[in-house]
């Protein structure tokens, strides 16, 4: 993850990626995915750079970034927490799970903790409905989370000075 969004190295990587593309303007979304992977978020300066590189208006880049929920213009926390708010999870208690996670993190959905450790967002269905209600931490899926203690155990794994352990509490592999 890049701490300094104006790192030259990342810009070179991004430029090399764009240069290798056959169709550039049409691949704006793919380029934004790549850029967000590199820089962790898409600030104005980076959007402007991409616009100039592709020779399209910056407003167009901004229009695309602001349209798709995957793209973010704000720095994210070290660990990305996502609560699935799909229907299957909703009827099996996702709202309650969301409230508990918000309480334990001390933030609302869409925000990042003050120490920049966690960003909290909601997702619309990752297709693991058999494990509803579900939350994801850095892409790792934790299912059937009902009790506050279970939430606490998940978050503990990602707190500093703790190596991310194997699997979720229910399955000791």
């Amino acid at each position: 993850m890049c701490d300094n969004p104006s790192s030259n190295d990342h810009y070179h990587q991004l430029d090399a990626y764009i240069d290798n593309l056959h169709y550039k303007k049409e691949n704006l979304i793919g380029i934004l995915h790549f850029a967000q992977e590199l820089f962790d978020y898409l600030p104005d300066k980076l959007q402007l750079h991409i616009a100039q590189k592709l020779d399209i208006p910056a407003a167009k880049v901004y229009g695309v970034v602001s349209f798709y929920s995957f793209f973010t213009m704000k720095p994210r926390g070290k660990h990305a927490a996502n609560i699935c708010m799909g229907t299957a999870c909703f009827v099996r208690g996702a709202e309650k799970l969301q409230q508990e996670v918000e309480k334990q993190m001390g933030i609302k959905t869409g925000q990042t903790t003050e120490d920049n450790l966690f960003s909290l967002d909601s997702l619309r269905c990752i297709g693991a409905c058999g494990l509803a209600p579900v939350m994801m931490m850095d892409g790792e899926v934790y299912g059937r989370i009902h009790e506050p203690e279970e939430v606490r155990q998940v978050l503990e794994k990602y707190r500093p000075n703790e190596m991310p352990k194997e699997r979720c509490p229910k399955h000791d592999i």
Binding site: L28, A88, A128, E166
Partner: protein, 628 residues
């Protein structure tokens, strides 16, 4: 190594048949009888099982089998989703035809010792019927009544091995299409089969291909819509992860029929595993010359590129999807012109759903009449449903059209969890409606679901019970539509927001009967004045819940209560005469709204009460504090 012709493909197929030997047998043989035979252990790699640790279990199994000197005899691998997500992680052992459920790491040693060494089943891991308590080695009740066409290979073959797909008759339909049929003949077969779009539109696939072909152009495109945005739907995900080649083959056949030499698969970014499987499959198909120039020695050239979504539900709509591939905001455009006439980069384009494409190879191989013989008069074939919510058995089912809701929910689904009562089934995602108990015996097809105020949609089927508030559910869906509206149409952009506000008012106990009329009127306006399917169907959850659950709305409005006990603002906590005056609740109340002397009945001040329920949590006397 490119396959230069059909003979080469067939030779490879023959060579690869051994991979599937003993893979799946229908008759049971005991673990004891299977000893010494070559066996397969399939550990479900579906999304639910994967998240519950099935890759770790597969690894441990391999290690243990190796330790016990059984590696040569027993092959462990992870196919796609078995479908029975509730009981995962699952594994199947063949040719023993034994299924084990809810397997954990601790069970691995026992399975190897008992099942493989001693030849006895591990009874406690067999599926047990919750009512009859009967144990099943195979042929679990969940699968009764199902018929796998789109999911024929999912949970059966190793998805990252093209040879297994070829061994299972993969790319044989392509051979037929390249050498035995003209494009018009292919289109006739698909039209005759009666296959309709499985993404929810239900439009005749054959007709769509025909219309695309009709438009003269130097280049046409076929697009696979793998954006599966309906919350609660994971059917397409299972096909993409479990049998990606079926989608590639479907696209090759579509390309041949419509005259396209290039295809795109637009896959949502929330499915990284599916993206990976598709990348591997495309790579392998190119390696064997099944994508590229002069496929299998014919004149046909075709290649496929992956495009990623970025979290916009509206991009499931075909024109929005096309704009997204073009690198723009996913805003739909007016139809006509339809994409068949003017689509991607202005060229004739056909957009088909994943499940639709997965049905194409078997239809070509087994014939249109075979497919048309399954299902109802106007809805042929099968449909995959993602059964979720308050059912006992959450998972994926594929059933012939015409199967009733009751059969799906109560037979395959095992009925309602915790012995609660069925209240409604929601189909069609945020575009659909809620179906009450009186329609449980409706045979499922496109027309019958429309007739009762819902729709087939992509196949999400959410089951609700007495503890689900239908007003709150409608509000949930509207919140989704507000978030996902692209903003282009005033009616959708502002209308959905206003609808959501009115619903919020009602769930907070501030609604009036006038609000019900407003919901109906505004709902109809949004439906009529919106440009695309998102806006046109966004009010459906409201209109259908008002039709079937009006009494619940009226309870919120007139009685200021939530019969299901969900809407917090309408809950009232009350201390009964059973109260012994221990003062525990008063001490725990965060807003100190409980008053009373020691050993005397306490009272809650309803004006101040937060409805947090802490008092009830603390109370040690049964029935002293109730919620109504």
């Amino acid at each position: 190594m490119k396959l230069k012709d059909t003979a080469a493909l067939n030779a490879l197929r023959t060579q690869s048949l051994g991979l599937l030997e003993n893979r799946r047998v229908t008759s049971s043989i005991t673990a004891k009888a299977a000893k010494g035979q070559r066996r397969h252990v399939m550990v479900c790699g579906g999304p639910g099982c994967h998240s519950s640790g099935s890759p770790g279990i597969a690894e441990l199994l391999e290690e243990e089998l190796s330790l016990r000197g059984l590696s040569d005899q027993v092959k462990v691998f992870q196919p796609g989703c078995f479908g029975f997500c509730e009981k995962g992680p699952m594994l199947e052992i063949h040719p023993d035809n034994t299924t084990y459920c809810q397997v954990s790491a601790k069970d691995v040693a026992t399975i190897v010792e008992d099942h493989f060494i001693k030849g006895t089943s591990v009874e406690r891991l067999l599926y047990q019927d919750p009512i009859t308590k009967e144990r099943f080695t195979s042929n679990l009740p969940f699968y009764h009544g199902q018929l796998k066409i789109a999911l024929r290979n999912v949970g059966y073959i190793a998805p990252e091995n093209i040879l297994e797909y070829i061994a299972a008759d993969g790319y044989q339909a392509l051979v037929k299409v390249l050498f035995d049929l003209t494009p018009l003949e292919i289109i006739e077969v698909i039209k005759k089969s009666g296959l309709r779009g499985r993404g929810g539109g239900g439009f005749s696939t054959g007709l769509k291909w025909e219309l695309t072909r009709k438009n003269e152009a130097k280049q046409r495109y076929i697009i696979c819509n793998a954006d599966e945005g309906d919350p609660g739907a994971f059917m397409d995900r299972s096909v993409l992860e479990g049998d990606p080649h079926s989608v590639l083959e479907g696209m090759l056949i579509a390309g041949s029929a419509i005259g396209a030499s290039y295809g795109f698969i637009y896959v949502r970014a929330e499915y990284p595993a599916a993206i990976h499987r598709l990348q591997v499959a495309i790579e392998q198909a190119r390696e064997y010359g099944l994508l590229g120039e002069g496929i299998l020695g014919s004149d046909f050239c075709f290649d496929i590129e992956l495009k990623y979504g970025a979290g916009a539900f509206v991009c499931g709509e075909e024109t929005a999807l096309i704009h997204s591939i073009e690198g723009a905001r996913g805003e739909p455009s007016v139809k006509p012109p339809f994409p068949a006439e003017k689509g991607l980069w202005g060229k004739p384009t056909c957009v088909n759903n994943v499940e639709t494409l997965a049905n194409i190879p078997p239809i070509l191989l087994k014939g249109a009449d075979w497919f048309a013989g399954i299902g109802t008069e106007k809805s042929k074939g099968t449909k995959v449903f993602a059964l979720a919510g308050k059912v006992r058995n959450v998972g994926l089912v594929e059933v012939p059209m015409g199967t009733t809701l009751r059969q799906i929910i109560f037979d395959m689904g095992g009925g309602i969890q915790n012995n609660k009562t069925f209240k409604a089934a929601q189909t069609g995602g945020p575009s659909g409606g809620c179906i009450p108990a009186k329609y449980l015996d409706t045979p499922i097809d496109y027309e019958s679901l429309n007739a009762i105020g819902s729709m087939m949609g992509s196949g999400g089927l959410i089951v609700m019970d007495e503890n689900d508030c239908m007003v709150n559910i409608a509000k949930f869906y509207l919140e989704f539509s507000v978030d996902e509206s692209c903003g282009r149409c005033t009616a959708c952009r502002i209308g959905t927001k206003r609808l959501h506000e009115i619903l919020t008012k009602i769930t907070e106990g501030k609604g009036t009967e006038d609000d019900l009329d407003k919901l109906m009127q505004l709902g109809k306006i949004v439906k009529t004045a919106s440009l695309c399917g998102l806006g046109q169907s966004a009010p459906n959850p409201i209109l259908s819940t008002i039709e079937y659950f009006e009494d619940e709305y009226l309870a919120h409005i007139n009685d200021k209560t939530c019969p299901a006990g969900v809407c917090k603002s309408l809950l009232k906590y009350h201390i009964t005469e059973k109260c012994v005056g221990c003062t525990l609740c008063a001490k725990k109340c965060p807003v100190s709204c409980i008053s009373g002397k020691s050993k005397e009945r306490h009272i809650i001040d309803e004006e101040l009460c937060l409805k947090c329920g802490k008092c009830q949590e603390q109370c040690k006397v049964d029935g002293a504090i109730i919620r109504r």
